[in-house]
């Protein structure tokens, strides 16, 4: 179990460490997939991009292609994901050009993404997906750590906004426990996030 981003990125360099690879895939695959989807790629193309990014990232990490001293991992991975997505978009453009000569020249998607403002939008999408993916991983971790009832109370009350009494009655706990559970889960999530927060390392 890797408890920080740094230790995980280190462990993943070892091809024999399957565990590390699986953790890595679990945490980072969703954001790449979602990012590609939101860049306008189809489901199938996004899966393509995901596979390619994973292969490249894995190889590059192993060969020391990522240097923490030179920047955040988040931005490094973004570079790969963005490039691959653009390549897939270009391939699609070629495909549609070939197939659909009658469509005329509509506004250029790639042009939009490739111009600085569009690129900023892409970076914003990445930032969001990064956060969602980390939160997803944090939830998974915390769910296992705190146990079913605590987590359930948290989801019902804090996420679905079910009134405290209803939650308490359903789970057979004191209403005040619901607040305690909520605080406990939030704290565990924050703690996990802090460990995987992307700070350039000392």
């Amino acid at each position: 179990m890797h408890t920080t981003q740094t230790s995980l990125l280190w462990a993943v360099r070892d091809p024999a460490d399957r565990e590390a690879w699986i953790s890595f895939y679990r945490i980072y695959a969703p954001m790449i997939r979602q990012f590609a989807r939101r860049m306008g790629l189809s489901e199938a193309d996004s899966e393509d991009v995901l596979q390619e990014v994973m292969v490249l990232a894995h190889r590059s990490l192993r060969d020391g292609g990522y240097d923490p001293a030179r920047g955040r991992f988040r931005n490094w991975l973004y570079g790969i994901a963005r490039n691959r997505s653009l390549m897939a978009l270009r391939a699609r453009r070629r495909r549609t050009r070939v197939q659909c000569t009658a469509c005329g020249d509509g506004p250029d998607v790639l042009g939009q993404i490739e111009d600085p403002a569009g690129d900023q939008a892409a970076a914003e999408i990445w930032r969001q997906e990064w956060r969602y993916a980390l939160l997803g991983a944090a939830l998974e971790h915390v769910r296992a750590e705190v146990g079913g009832k605590t987590f359930e109370a948290f989801v019902d009350h804090a996420i679905h906004r079910v009134p405290v009494e209803t939650v308490a009655a359903r789970l057979g706990i004191a209403p005040s426990s619901v607040y305690v559970y909520k605080g406990r889960v939030l704290e565990a999530i924050r703690e996990w996030l802090a460990r995987f927060e992307d700070v350039p390392d000392e």
Binding site: Y25, D108, V146, K149, Y179
Partner: protein, 526 residues
């Protein structure tokens, strides 16, 4: 499992529980800092998104994959909203797919609401129209109630609009008009039996695999009144972007309210934007505009929009219901009359065997049983596997094929559980092998072949939790790339794949034997 000590209320800093139920969304117990609130909001998004792919078996009305409910075999969870979870399901008697919308108990708490709902559901079942998602029944077991509906393979209009927006290419007018007519005809059928949809918007307009538009989710809004405004998984929470002024004011809705909402949808189809957009996505600000601001002229954003259509849209968006088309039948007629002058859309692109439109393949495959999908994917991978010599891929493929064998027509929870346990192994194994192939000095063709096998394996793994058809389509595409690179005939591959597809399609549940049998590699050649 971690033991859970009951926290002691005494001495803790927690405030006492409030006396009355706060309204939904209100600050509860005053403990949420803005920071907490922001974190919670993000977590909400994450969990809602997650609900489409993972199941939380501990939830009361959660139906495990492979279980039976009201005569249906439950499949994967395909969506979750504030009031219900929607599962893909299958009727084992007819072998037809269905969608099961399982209502969450908290939204059926009051007797009055329940009665209102079933009344509405009864009318819904009476609507039979090509442009309305058909209701198959109202299965019930114990306290759990559900609506069984047709399961549509296609996407929603929302998807098409998003795609058009991203591509910056407006929708062809002929297409927008055709779809609007179909939506209007479907809604007219409801209006004819005295029902109002109340929540017409692009995400409720779905397509079947023939590309016909169908109106979904009648009466759903009833249950949402007073509850949270969750419109669906991963979507923003309650944009009243398509709401009529009378709905925004909380007044009585009439068929003309649906006319307004469909008008707003049509506006978006032709211009690529909503009639009222505000800087910050504030529902209140949008509602104010629906109530008081005159609708803009769609021609501002679409110069080539025919005048009659612009006028028609503006009439739909009148503030006064009396000035609109009285109901959607009249709107459909007006659209049809105007459409006479619109040139028909050009025929879609002819497909060449070299260019796989993965989307279409996915849609087609989705008609097959799971077992057949897995089998098809494995065969595609098999056909190119000779190009790759990694034994791990061979193993992954073998597991995938055996999973196809297990995926028999009525998988029991046990057999599905077994399969789920394999998922981790299988995915890891095949991905590993694919990467290893990519890293080694193997030919690019072998790498593609490896990816095809990996995809076939994950297709088997994805049986319960994700879209197996997408994985299968991906495998096919990889196989084609591999053949390309190896200089083999793609045409022969594709012909064989088509033949497989037809055979698997005809293959009925209950027969066993031929499905999982590997295909000899020499089938590759003409």
């Amino acid at each position: 499992m971690t033991p859970e000590p009951d926290p002691t209320p005494a001495g803790s800093a927690d405030p006492p529980p409030p006396e009355v139920h706060p309204p939904p969304g209100a600050e509860q117990a005053g403990v949420e800092s803005p920071e907490d609130a922001a974190l919670l909001e993000d977590l909400r998004t994450v969990l809602l998104r997650e609900a489409t792919t993972t199941t939380r078996a501990d939830r009361q009305t959660e139906l495990p994959c492979g279980s039976r409910f009201g005569g249906y075999i439950v499949g994967r969870l395909i969506g979750e909203g504030g009031m219900a979870r929607v599962y893909a399901a299958r009727d084992p008697l007819s072998d037809k797919p269905a969608a099961l919308k399982v209502l969450k108990p908290e939204y059926l708490a009051s007797r009055e609401m329940l009665e209102r709902f079933w009344r509405e559901a009864g009318s819904m079942a009476r609507i039979r129209h090509d442009n309305v998602v058909g209701i198959l029944g109202f299965p019930q077991e114990g306290d759990i109630r559900a609506i069984a509906m047709e399961l549509l393979a296609g996407r929603s209009l929302r998807h098409h609009l998003d795609a058009a927006r991203l591509e910056g290419r407006p929708m062809p007018i002929a297409r927008a008009v055709t779809w609007a007519i179909q939506a209007a005809r479907g809604l007219a059928a409801a209006h004819a039996v005295g029902m109002v949809h109340r929540d017409v918007k692009p995400s409720n307009l779905l397509f079947d695999d023939a590309g016909t538009l169908k109106v979904a989710d009648f009466g759903a809004i009833l249950l949402m009144e007073g509850a949270t405004w969750l419109t669906g998984v991963g979507k923003q929470i309650g944009t009243p972007a398509y709401m009529s002024p009378e709905q925004c004011r909380g007044e009585r809705v009439t068929p003309a309210s649906d006319v307004y909402s469909l008008g707003a949808t049509l506006f978006e189809m032709v211009t690529g934007r909503l009639p009222f957009e505000v800087e910050e996505a504030s529902p209140l600000a949008v509602m104010l505009k629906h109530i008081s601001e005159p609708a803009p002229d769609p021609r501002t954003w679409r110069e080539d929009l025919p005048r009659w259509l612009a006028t028609l849209i503006s009439r739909c968006l009148s503030k006064d219901p009396q000035s609109r088309y009285p109901e959607c039948g009249a709107l459909a007629d007006a659209l049809q009359a105007g459409a006479g002058g619109v040139p028909a859309e050009e025929e879609s692109i002819a497909s060449s065997p070299d260019l796989i439109d993965t989307e279409t393949v996915r849609r087609r495959l989705a008609e097959l049983s799971h077992r057949a999908i897995i089998c098809w994917a494995c065969r595609c991978a098999r056909r190119v596997q000779a190009l790759n010599e990694d034994p791990r891929l061979e193993r992954a493929l073998a597991i995938a094929e055996s999973a196809a064998g297990d995926a028999d027509a009525d998988g029991t929870p046990e057999s599905i559980g077994r399969m789920m346990r394999r998922i981790q192994t299988l995915r890891g194994e095949s991905l590993d092998a694919a990467y290893a192939a990519a890293d080694g000095l193997a030919s690019p063709a072998a790498v593609e072949a490896a990816k095809a096998a990996a995809a076939a394996a994950s297709c088997a793994a994805a049986r319960c939790i994700e879209d197996a058809a997408a994985d299968a389509a991906f495998a096919a595409r990889r196989a084609v790339s591999a053949l390309h690179l190896a200089g083999r005939s793609v045409r022969a591959f594709w012909a064989a794949a088509r033949k497989d597809y037809r055979r698997l399609r005809e293959f009925s549940a209950g027969q066993t034997g031929t499905v999982g049998t590997p295909i000899p590699p020499d089938l590759l050649d003409d």
